[in-house]
Structures are given as C-alpha cells and as structure tokens.
C-alpha cells in the first residue's frame, strides 16, 4: 500500500465547556455530500457545523466516476479545474462478451463544453480538496471524531447529543442535514423505513497500481470473459497509474476468503497476463441494494445522498446523485435562511429529488438485473441479447452494463413555469443549463454563477431589480443549443436549472416566474 490518508485532528469545541451550544445549520457526515453541502452553503455566506465520527477521508477509491453535471457543480464551487487537472477524462465505454467487443458508446460526441462526460478521480482526493476549500471559506466548523448519538426533532429545530473523545455536549440545530451515508445514524435514530431491492451477488473491488499499463482512458466492461468465466468485470482508469477493477463473484462467494491478497492477485494476473507487474492498493468485497426513504424532508431534517437513497454502482449514480441532491437543496435552504423565500420552498426538494432518485434507482436496478441475472430465464435472455448484439442494432441497445449518470430533468417541478410558446429544442423548464463556448473564450456555464440569472439572446435584458442578467448573441453554438432567436429569454435558478423560458423578455412574465421559482404563492409580495 502506498497511500496514506490524512488524519484530521479532533479539536475540543467550546460547547464541551458548557455542555451545550447551538447552530443554524448542522451537517452530519463529512463525506463528499456533506462537505459539498457545507461548501455550497459557505459560498452563500452561511456558516455550518459539520460532524463526522471519523478523522479522515474515504479509504479506497470508492466513488470514482464524476459526471459532467457534477463537474459543472464543482466548477461553480471552485474545484472544477482541479478535478480536470488531476482526474482522468473519458467518454468512451466498451462492452465485451466473452472475448469480443459487443457494444461501444460515446457519452459526449460533440465538442464545445467546458466539462467532459466523465472524470475519474478517487473519492479521497475530492474529499481532501473539499476539506481544504471548506476550511479556507472560514464558515465551516469541521468537527472530526464527533458522533451523533441522540436526535430529538422539534418544530423549530433538532436537538442533538454529540459524543467526542473528550466528552459529550448538546447541540441545538436550526436545520439538520443528514449526509451520513447508506448506514445513516440519523435515519436509524428516527426509525425511518428504508425499503427496496436487495441484490445477493458479491463483488470484489480492487485499486491496482499498474505502472506503464498501455490502455486508453475508457470504461471497459466484460460479460463472461475468458479470464473470469461466468461472471462480469468492470475496469476503470484512475490517476496515479491506478486502475479500479470490479469482479463479480456470485452469491455464494465467501467475502473473507475473497479478500485474501494472494487470491485477488491471481484474479488480476489472469486478467492482465502473467508478465504485467502490479501492486494491490486496496481491496474490498461488497453487496448492494437499491432503495430509498419515502420522503427526504422530515420537518427540519433533510436526508441528502446515500442516507436518502442507495443505488448499485453500475451507472455512477450514487456519488453523482448525492452531489446533485446537495446542489438542489443548498440554494433553497440559503434563500429560506436569508428570508428571501418562504419555508415551503424546501418542500420542492422532495418534489424534485424523489423523482431523480427513482430514476437513478430504476436505471441502476435494471443494469444490475442485466449484469447479475437471478433466474435461468433472465440469464437466457441476457446471453441472447449479448449474442445478437454483434449483428443486430436493437439488441446492442439492450446491452445494459450500466446506463451512466445523466442529470435529472425536474419535469413536474412546482418551481417551474410551463412553456407558453413553441420550442424545438433547448433545455426545458426543470432541466440543467446546457454549456456552450462564448465569443470571449469563456463558457456559458461559468458565466451563470450561483445566483438567479436572466439569460437573454440577442436583445437588451429588461431591468429587473435584484435579478442579474446575461446577454449573449442570438447566433452561434449557444443560441443553437438553447433554440434561441432574438429575444429568447431563459430564467435560471441558482442551481443553473431552467425555471422558465420565453420568446420575448416580458418583465411581467419574468417577474411571475421568479416568484414561482422562489416558491412564493401568487400575491405573496415581492421580497428580495
């Protein structure tokens, strides 16, 4: 093992002296999602306390595939370039059946986007950078080795008991954001049902360092390969000459025996050939479930990421789904805390992110059913699809080795104003903004930022107090991708999703859409 995780020190907080304290927002869990929530809140000027029972970042690579939308979110938070510089950029996936290529896909065939389809980066790097950025913000109080033991929800907040190496204290949180993962202690303390589908197949996951291994940066998936007969294998390239390999082991595998380094090495040698030297960095055996909470908001408590929903790893929908939860929730919570929006705005987190979770669960369940058929019939259809794939395009489209994470479009969002005019393309209400290069060399998404923006094509934006506007030409790639004509106007939310769009920048309609975006009922009055 070459990697040494950082150790973050426990610092006794002032509450230990008096046994009690309070904070407007408390985040439980300093993983990718919790740290992202805290950093995004800090960007809105809101301070948080983050509690984590551990004192380091993720052990092993874990979530490694960061999708285009996630990268765009991190670009807004100031980490985009770092992800691009260190991570492995890829967009091509290849699926093999036995010893031949069955299917190949390109996730971003067109140029002109700041962010690629995917960047592979070990979760621990992203967490380290998030810790650095949170610390630098001066607004995030990171408390390591601080375990939440009791949770008492109240109408106006949540009372917590926090246990540390130097004693316990009580914390009154105005809002509690449970970002504490699939085994969420907050969820368990509240006794919430977390139901879904269990998959029995075990998988071996390994980080393997292979110096000078010549293989392009692409996702490779094998069904029933000669080096691992009867099972599947997934290969991803990571930074530091590291490769991530997932071996399907079947339901009967003994998880302890399978972790034996000699046994793992034999599997890898069978795959790479006897002449390729490698070093094992990290090994784990896992099973998974696809499930979710019935609701993600419980009064003053929000579940974000894996604490709210769990998916299989096929499709990179766990980490990316969690980051997109954070992106969805933070601007709303910030607006409520700043008095810009009514508390009811927060209900839209459920309205928008439950369908997103269901979409992720559906895709990841289907992929898992295809990869690990549980009946003879399932296996026969799966193999038939793979055999037909070579000659028949319809079968190629059925090959499901993971449908990779794409951003959810909140089609039924209560915050969106439905289209009133004809559109032949462009992002519909509820969809994230589409990137495009601008004449000055910048990218459109970089210009949107993290506040509501009026994007106007080829016309002078109307002056609306408190609403920033961005004017771009009604020709060029941006106009094409947004189905824009002179006068076309998009109202974008702080999370860069479309709230409304119009063919003319009509101030009255924009104002009404803005009210709706902030979750204000008609006639509730305009506050900014």
């Amino acid at each position: 093992m070459r990697r040494v995780n950082p150790v973050y020190p426990f610092r006794p907080p002032p509450e230990l002296a008096h046994g009690r304290g309070s904070a407007p927002v408390v985040v439980v869990g300093a993983g990718v999602v919790g740290l992202t929530v805290a950093l995004d809140l800090a960007r809105h000027g809101i301070a948080t306390i983050v509690l984590d029972d551990d004192d380091t970042v993720s052990v092993g690579s874990r979530a490694i595939c960061w999708s285009k939308r996630t990268l765009e979110i991190y670009d807004r938070l100031g980490l985009g370039q770092r992800l691009l510089d260190k991570g492995v950029t890829w967009k091509v996936g290849k699926v093999f059946f036995r010893d031949r290529l069955a299917y190949e896909f390109d996730l971003l065939p067109e140029p002109g986007h700041r962010m690629p389809a995917f960047v592979n980066l070990q979760q621990y790097y992203l967490e380290e950078w998030l810790v650095e950025a949170c610390t630098a913000s001066g607004l995030v109080d990171l408390r390591w080795r601080s375990r939440v033991e009791e949770i008492a929800p109240r109408p106006d907040g949540v009372e917590l008991r926090v246990v540390t190496p130097e004693g316990a204290y009580r914390l009154d949180a105005g809002w509690l954001l449970a970002c504490d993962g699939a085994r969420s202690t907050v969820r368990e303390a509240l006794g919430l049902r977390f139901l879904g589908k269990v998959f029995r197949d075990r998988f071996l996951i390994a980080d393997v360092v292979i110096e000078g291994f010549a293989m392009p940066a692409e996702r490779r998936f094998w069904f029933d390969p000669p080096f691992h007969p009867g099972q599947s294998v997934l290969l991803h390239k990571q930074p530091d000459s590291m490769w991530r390999i997932d071996f399907q082991l079947g339901a009967e595998a003994d998880p302890e025996a399978e972790k034996d380094p000699a046994r793992v090495a034999a599997r890898i040698r069978a795959m790479l050939g006897p002449e390729v030297p490698f070093e094992l960095e990290w090994v784990s055996v896992y099973t998974f479930r696809c499930r979710r909470l019935e609701r993600f908001r419980h009064g003053r408590i929000f579940f974000v990421g894996d604490s709210a929903h769990q998916v299989s790893p096929f499709g990179a929908r766990g980490g990316n789904g969690g980051v997109q939860d954070a992106d969805n929730l933070v601007w709303k919570l910030a607006a409520v805390l700043e008095g810009r929006a009514p508390e009811s705005l927060l209900d839209s987190y459920d309205a928008e992110r439950i369908p997103a979770a269901d979409e992720n669960i559906l895709h990841s369940t289907r992929a898992t059913d295809f990869i690990t058929p549980r009946t003879e019939a399932g296996r026969a259809y799966r193999d038939a699809v793979l055999l037909l794939a070579k000659e028949h395009p319809f079968a190629r489209r059925m090959v499901n080795a993971g449908r990779l994470s794409t951003p959810h479009i909140c089609r039924e969002s209560p915050l969106s104003t439905p289209d009133g005019e004809a559109w032949a393309g462009g992002p519909p209400p509820g969809a994230p903004a589409i990137d495009a290069p601008l004449a000055d060399g910048s990218f459109l998404l970089q210009r949107l930022g993290g506040e509501p923006v009026l994007l106007v094509f080829g016309a002078t934006p109307p002056a609306l107090p408190g609403l920033r506007s961005l004017s771009v030409p009604a020709e060029g790639l941006a106009a094409e991708r947004w189905d824009a004509r002179p006068g076309t106007t998009y109202l974008l939310r702080p999370d860069q999703h479309v709230a409304a769009r119009f063919r003319e920048p009509d101030p009255a309609r924009i104002e009404a859409a803005l009210q709706r975006m902030w979750g204000r009922a008609r006639g509730e009055g305009i506050r900014r």
């Binding site: 139901l195 879904g196 589908k197 269990v198 499930r291 003879e376 019939a377 026969a380 259809y381 193999d383 038939a384 699809v385 055999l387 037909l388 028949h392 319809f394 079968a395 059925m398």
Partner: protein, 76 residues
C-alpha cells in the same frame, strides 16, 4: 431437406410446430433456452409493436394457469 421444405407455409400449423422443435434438435437444454430467448427477441423486434408482446405474455401466462402479472418482488 432443402431450404424450401424447411420453411413452413403460413397456414401449415403442423409444419410450423415441427420447424420450431427442429431448430432445437442439436442443442443442450441451456442452449435451447438461449435460442428461444433469441427467437422471442427477434420476433418482438420484427413485430415492432409492444402491445402485441403484452398480449402474448398475457395469453401465455393465462394458458399456464398463472396470473397475468407475477407477484411483486419482496422489498426489505
């Protein structure tokens, strides 16, 4: 058998039956299942109408004395 003899006329039910069985003649049970699955997939694609597949599933499950919809999977 020539290829003309191997293809049943559209209204010759006995020949159709024999043709389906014959396609499995040299196959193991596992290969047979795979062949049937491939046949179903190709025929579904050729029909181009998902409603016909739904109707066929309903008719076939009914013939087997099973409810049209299998029970929901257990959630845990």
């Amino acid at each position: 058998m020539s290829s003309a003899e191997a293809r049943p006329a559209p209204h010759d039910p006995d020949a159709l039956f024999v043709r389906l069985v014959r396609a499995h003649r040299d196959l193991s049970p596992e290969e047979s299942r795979r062949l049937d699955a491939a046949l179903v997939l190709l025929l579904v694609e050729a029909s181009g109408d998902p409603a016909r597949l739904e109707a066929a599933i309903a008719a076939a499950r009914t013939a087997l004395g099973k409810p049209v919809e299998p029970p929901e999977e257990l959630r845990e």
